[in-house]
């Protein structure tokens, strides 16, 4: 009886897992490049024409740098929308500024202001929209390589979010549309909260023992932990089951 329950549970999880496996991200080893390197101290122009350097910004608060261009017909928009949505929740205790920076020399300050209005973030103090003249150096320092595709008049590029701590070091990079857990880890990393390990992004999360919980910043039990506790639980159930059934027979 109990064995049948376990077996059907395993079989069920197995099929669920096989189905879920196709959806996970591709291996993204590029995220490990440039970590703990100093970011280029680019001069930037933010809303209302204020000129700053990147170091003035990150010295005050850690920075999450999102590199986009306004004429993008691809990933930039969903990327920013998801970032905005994820940050609506207080997902980490750490503080930070979000800097949305254009890597397209054609973008003007007006284009960026328009973008901030379109996203409904023009009055949000946490978000800054900026252009820069030092884009080549900056791209190089964060390992970002947009390629111009003249037939589509578009840049071929990754959706890159770079975490920069108060000392100007890159502590973490995220490539692609990512979930709140990953973002929370990035916010922790720019605030120098050390976690002794992390999971590679191409890994199947279903059977892992722990998931990072963004609400509390702690690891919470995952389905894998249930698997880990399962033998003990089944053993105890078995003990109760046997105890109950032999008692019944005697009465």
């Amino acid at each position: 009886m109990f064995k049948r329950i376990i077996l059907s549970f395993i079989a069920g999880s197995f099929f669920y897992c096989t189905a879920a496996f196709g959806q996970v991200n591709q291996a993204n080893w590029k995220e490990d490049a440039n970590i703990y390197e100093k970011v280029c101290d680019a001069s930037i122009t933010i809303n209302k024409g204020v000129n700053l350097t990147l170091s003035q910004l990150y010295n005050e608060k850690p920075v999450l740098l999102a590199l986009i261009f306004t004429r993008c017909s691809g990933i930039c928009n969903p990327f920013l929308l998801q970032l905005k949505e994820n940050l609506q929740f207080k997902i980490s205790a750490g503080e930070f500024t979000v800097l949305v920076l254009s890597f397209d020399p054609r973008d003007t300050r007006e284009d960026m202001e328009l973008l901030s209005e379109r996203l409904g973030l023009e009055n949000n103090e946490q978000w800054l929209f900026a252009t820069t003249g030092d884009i080549e150096k900056l791209n190089q320092s964060v390992g970002f390589n947009p390629v111009w595709d003249s037939t589509r008049s578009q840049y071929d590029h990754d959706a890159l979010l770079v975490g920069i701590n108060k000392d100007g070091y890159i502590t973490k990079k995220l490539i692609g549309l990512r979930n709140r857990q990953d973002l929370a880890q990035m916010i922790n990393s720019v605030n120098n909260i050390f976690s002794p390990s992390y999971r590679l992004p191409n890994k199947n999360l279903l059977f892992s023992c722990f998931n990072y919980n963004p609400e509390t910043g702690k690891n919470t039990p995952g389905l894998g932990l249930l698997f880990l506790a399962l033998p003990a639980i089944v053993a105890l159930l078995l003990v109760f089951g046997i105890s109950y059934s032999v008692r019944q027979k005697q009465i």
Partner: protein
Amino acid sequence: MQNSILMLFLVLAALSALVFTFVFISSKKAGMSVQGLSNPLRKRFWFLLILFVVLGIFASVTIPRSPYFLFADENPSRVVHVAAMQFAFIMSEKAIDPKSPVGEASIELPANELVEFRVTSLDVNHGFAIYDQSNRLIAQTQAMPGYVNRLRWKFKEPGKYTILCLEFCGMAHQVMRSSFTVK
């Protein structure tokens, strides 16, 4: 460190052997009369309490020094990516592409500065243990496929350090080694 661990073990082991010998001899000498231990329940309680306190002190002193908390509030000045595979360590200061893993021929690290090793595995579980020049194990972590372990360490002495795999990983496990230099 290893020497004091060994000494601790030997002293405790010798002590236990003495206690058992003493108790055995006392039984041989007892003749026909049962003298036994007076008030055993009370002595048992004290024995338990002392053990509990000793272990409690040990735990509270050692747990905060666990490797998971080492140099947690500092920024490393160097990062070394390590990808372990059967039967070699690939090390690079740049991120390693698992599809075409390429490492650097030699790694040089600064002395007295914080270094972070980001250790992962491309196939099975491996160990990543750093031995100093006198072949003493100074720090280690495991390399697990799909995960990255971050080992932070400051090397005090310049010289050549050896890396050995400490988790059985297949038929050439015993020759899986690498090294780096600290200047």
